[in-house]
């Protein structure tokens, strides 16, 4: 085409209906219409599930003329009471954010320089498939790691990993509450144990912060308990919002296990435990008794910094309230390398109180497969169907993190989770073998895995990094291929089981059409990628509706049924606790241990760690001039996920370093001063928040700030990234350790 002809041809050459040169142009000719149709207001409510954090609360999405205008709690779910949190409310601001990812992109410049070109989905899939094929041929499928934030997308995402024979598939749980899961599994044979906070009379928290680390149903239950007169005791080096609602015990960091063992010591000495429960339902009490026999209140005072009188008083108050007394098992990152033993000890003390399967205690989650074990509960609900896949190739090596290997702590790591921090180590050290490619879905290792600089160093060494997300995250900045997922308000997802005291199924369904038309839901992304990689047979469904129907049909339900209310619970079924009316009822149907006992002493744990019952291990305390650096959640943000979401960023754009007034005075630091925090290896700038609400030997910041990606415009460089300072120490069961780093602080 000659010069000057191009524009003319574009204007006139395609039949006059559209600008038709090679698809340039966005508009198409139709019959003119007046806009009358849109002056009628069309208002609907779509019942779906939130994804501003992992809790997936049921929501009611108000849609006016095809636009989401408001998100509220789903009134059809009584457990949530039609309530959601500020993050849940902010959904529309993510949905309509101009900063979202809009098209697949392939890197054109050096890693981290942000130089990309947009490509079609097919080009992106082809690029990934070709690269993975070469890596697989040269280094084996095991050299490709997969990591995601745990969620309903995992079935599809993980299928790619299993399909290429990689054993190295990880969730984010090691950076979250995995130690608790390990503890529960080792004692009950199952992780699905929950607490009935609402009916408790006495609740002791070890750093658990329901009013800032919000889980709507649990936060409401805690508030209900407090309203009903329950006592709340919070052991935390920092005065959290939750601590401010009860008795704050500023415990010395990393000594929680000493407090719990001293409680056990007092309870045994004063014979305040439920002997019948212990005898009937548990094993290993004698070994536990032996382990705590010298863990006296005096000893614990020395360890924890808490006066022995306080330890004794709290223990007695707690025991008085049994069985409606809960020592909370926590839901947060591991504090120390042996954090899982703290969680085990907490659950042992709980079980000494006989607070299992009674109101105000702990209970086994009653999903359909559990309820159907009880004749009087049979028939209320049926389990969801599974989508069967052909056998996957057997991985030729074991995992890089030792998960599942007998005789080492890795034996205890949940296979579906793994020790995600090990991916970084394997990339950098080649041990136990080299990871060459990393597929990342809705996870941000640069901020979520400790020692951010090392994570970045590792990302730069990869042959292939693929990131699927809604934003250009700190990790996406280093990716070779970026895949834009649509938001949770625009997609279906497999139905998930959110059973509590009764079975419950929740649906996520699109409230509106795609805002950015070239984004896709994860099920479609991985199905299409799988097909490009000749793994199509592992995705044996036509579309997500078909997938969901195959889940629901065996449960006697249909998609249209779920769409109406967004949530399903069996009609007429009352919450039930096995021991509510019969303290000697059999627990055989809810404990999954071969021994049929709740195992205080675990052969498996003994085999893996040589500590069949929890033993105390003293961790270093800060030397003179140093502080223990701790972190935690804030109510208006979700970890590494939301700091760039417009409304939430406005609510809290940055964090600061909490430092005790006396310590700050010693260092000449005033509230609001610029400071430098140093771990000895890394330094970080920040601002000081001088307060009485923290121990003098501890400093604290909220997690998820100080973002590295300049693409996260609103969050870039604002505040402190705690994980830049925290060392990538991998705990005994693969967990990150967030309370083990000591820092110095000085005025900038």
């Amino acid at each position: 085409m000659n010069r000057r002809q191009f524009l003319k041809y574009a204007l006139y050459g395609a039949g006059g209906t559209a600008i038709g040169v090679s698809g340039l142009g966005a508009l198409t000719k139709v019959a003119p219409k007046s806009a009358i149709a849109t002056t009628n207001t069309e208002e609907t409510t779509v019942f779906s599930a939130c994804e501003m954090c992992r809790n997936q609360c049921p929501i009611a999405v108000k849609v006016v003329n095809g636009k989401v205008t408001k998100i509220e709690g789903n009134p059809n779910d009584s457990g949530f009471g039609g309530v959601i949190c500020a993050r849940g409310n902010s959904g529309p601001s993510l949905l309509y954010d101009p900063q979202r990812l809009k098209k697949p992109m392939i890197r054109t410049g050096e890693r981290g320089t942000g130089k990309y070109k947009e490509v079609s989905w097919d080009e992106a899939y082809t690029y990934i498939a070709d690269k993975l094929k070469v890596i697989q041929q040269d280094f084996g499928g095991e050299s490709v790691a997969f990591a995601s934030r745990k969620g309903p997308h995992d079935w599809f995402f993980r299928t790619i990993g299993k399909g290429i024979g990689s054993p190295n598939i990880f969730s984010h749980e090691a950076t979250c509450p995995m130690t608790r899961s390990v503890a529960l599994d080792s004692m009950f044979g199952v992780e699905a144990i929950a607490a009935d906070y609402a009916n408790a009379k006495y609740i002791v928290s070890f750093g658990r912060n329901w009013l800032e680390g919000i889980h709507i149903a649990q936060t409401r239950a805690i508030m209900k308990a407090i309203d009903n007169g329950a006592k709340l005791v919070v052991l935390d080096p920092r005065l959290s919002v939750t601590a401010s609602k009860g008795e704050w015990i500023p415990i010395k960091g990393t000594t929680d296990l000493a407090f719990v063992m001293a409680m056990a010591n007092i309870i045994i000495t004063e014979e305040r435990y439920d002997k019948d429960f212990v005898e009937r339902y548990t094993s290993g009490f004698d070994q536990w008794k032996e382990a705590v026999k010298d863990k006296t209140p005096e000893w614990a005072e020395n360890e924890t910094g808490i006066p022995k009188e306080t330890i004794i008083r709290i223990t007695r108050e707690f025991a008085e309230a049994r069985p409606q007394a809960i020592l909370d098992f926590g839901w947060r990152t591991g504090l120390t390398p042996n954090d899982f033993q703290l969680r085990r000890a907490i659950m042992i003390v709980n079980m000494m109180m006989g607070n299992f399967e009674v109101p105000g205690g702990y209970y086994r989650i009653k999903n359909a497969s559990v309820t159907n074990r009880f004749p009087e509960m049979t028939g209320y609900a049926k389990a969801l169907g599974a989508i069967n896949q052909p056998a996957f190739p057997k991985p030729v090596t074991s995992r890089i993190d030792g998960t599942g290997i007998k005789g080492i702590p890795g034996q205890l790591i949940p296979e579906g989770d793994g020790a995600v921090g090990q991916i970084v180590e394997s990339i950098l050290t080649g041990q136990p073998y080299q990871i060459k490619a990393w597929m990342v879905h809705r996870f941000n290792p640069v901020i979520s895995i400790t020692e951010s600089d090392r994570v970045i160093e590792a990302l730069k060494k990869l042959d292939l990094l693929v990131v699927c997300d809604v934003y250009m995250t700190d990790t996406a900045m280093f990716a070779d291929v970026i895949l834009p997922e649509c938001s949770y308000l625009e997609r279906h997802e497999p139905v998930y089981d959110m059973s509590g005291l009764t079975p419950k199924y929740v649906l996520r369904q699109p409230a509106v059409e795609l805002v950015y038309p070239d984004t896709k839901p994860s099920w479609q992304i991985y199905k299409e990628l799988g097909e490009k990689m000749d793994l199509g047979k592992y995705f044996p469904f036509q579309n997500i509706e078909n997938y969901i129907s195959r889940q629901l049909t065996p449960a006697g339900l249909s998609l249209s049924q779920l769409k109406q209310k967004g949530v399903w619970t069996p009609e007429g079924m009352k919450p039930f606790y096995l021991r509510a009316n019969d303290s000697q009822a059999s627990l055989g149907n809810v404990i999954s241990k071969v021994s049929q006992k709740i195992e205080f002493y675990s052969e498996e744990v003994q085999h893996a760690t040589k500590q069949g019952v929890p033993q105390y291990k003293r961790h270093p305390q800060p030397e003179e001039g140093k502080f223990r650096f701790v972190q935690g959640k804030v109510a208006v943000h979700t970890n590494a996920g939301t700091v760039n979401v417009p409304v939430l960023n406005e609510l809290m754009p940055e964090n600061s370093l909490w430092i005790n007034k006396a310590s700050a005075d010693n260092l000449g630091i005033l509230d609001g001063d610029d400071i430098i925090i140093s771990s000895g290896i890394y330094e970080h700038k920040g601002k000081a928040k001088v307060t009485e609400g923290i121990r003098p030997d501890t400093v604290f910041c909220y997690h998820g700030f100080g973002r590295i990606s300049p693409e996260l415009k609103r969050a870039f460089g604002k505040g402190i990234n705690d994980n830049k300072l925290i060392l990538n120490q991998i705990g005994e069961v693969g967990n990150v350790c967030t309370s083990m780093t000591m820092v110095t602080v000085k005025k900038a």
Binding site: S22, L27, P32, K713
Partner: protein, 192 residues
């Protein structure tokens, strides 16, 4: 209706759409058009010519255009968000009332966003493309109305941002568009 107006609008639409091989290949044609119709933009045209000389191959041009288009318009820390709604609504989000208004305007003139090449209705390039079509079809009154109510207020906000970005081609093209629009204002008539 002046055919040149249609060509001019289309030329700017082509620039501000996502980088496209046809545009990359025909950049010189756009320069020629602008030189003839917007002679005051000499300085900017020299800049774009330099760019063309530096990147004679279409693929190289495309790669560098992407390199600048993405941070300028597309994702992450966007320097000049190309959607009008973002500037006209309080909350800075896309698909606000302005998007709905322009979509309705397109529809009233017989245009919709095509199924394949989907884009938000208030994207800068789509608005420019729409005006090219109105100019081509001689719809003077509608054109003037759209310019007055939608395009001009949008350009007043976004062009300074694009110019400020100093991104090759885009910054110069934005300045050229600004000069053209100013000239039209000075003439006191609607373009075309």
């Amino acid at each position: 209706m002046n055919n040149k107006t249609a060509e001019l609008y289309l030329s700017f639409a082509g620039i501000f759409h996502r980088p496209h091989p046809e545009i990359a290949e025909h950049l010189e044609e756009l320069i020629e058009l602008w030189r003839g119709e917007i002679p005051e933009s000499k300085e900017q045209l020299v800049e774009i010519e330099d760019y063309c000389r530096k990147y004679p191959l279409v693929n190289d041009r495309l790669d560098t255009l992407w390199e600048h288009y993405i941070p300028l318009f597309e994702t992450g820390d966007i320097e000049a968000i190309p959607y009008a709604s973002v500037y006209f609504n309080d909350n800075g989000l896309v698909l606000g009332k302005e998007a709905e208004d322009v979509r309705e305007f397109y529809l009233s003139c017989g245009y919709v966003i095509g199924n394949e090449k989907q884009e938000l209705p208030d994207h800068l390039a789509v608005e420019l493309e729409f005006l090219a079509l109105l100019a081509r079809d001689g719809k003077t009154q509608k054109l003037a109305e759209f310019e007055r109510d939608h395009l001009r207020p949008f350009l007043r906000t976004i062009l300074p941002l694009i110019i400020k970005s100093k991104r090759p081609v885009y910054s110069s093209a934005a300045k050229t568009l600004e000069i053209w629009q100013l000239n039209s204002d000075r003439k006191g008539d609607s373009i075309g």
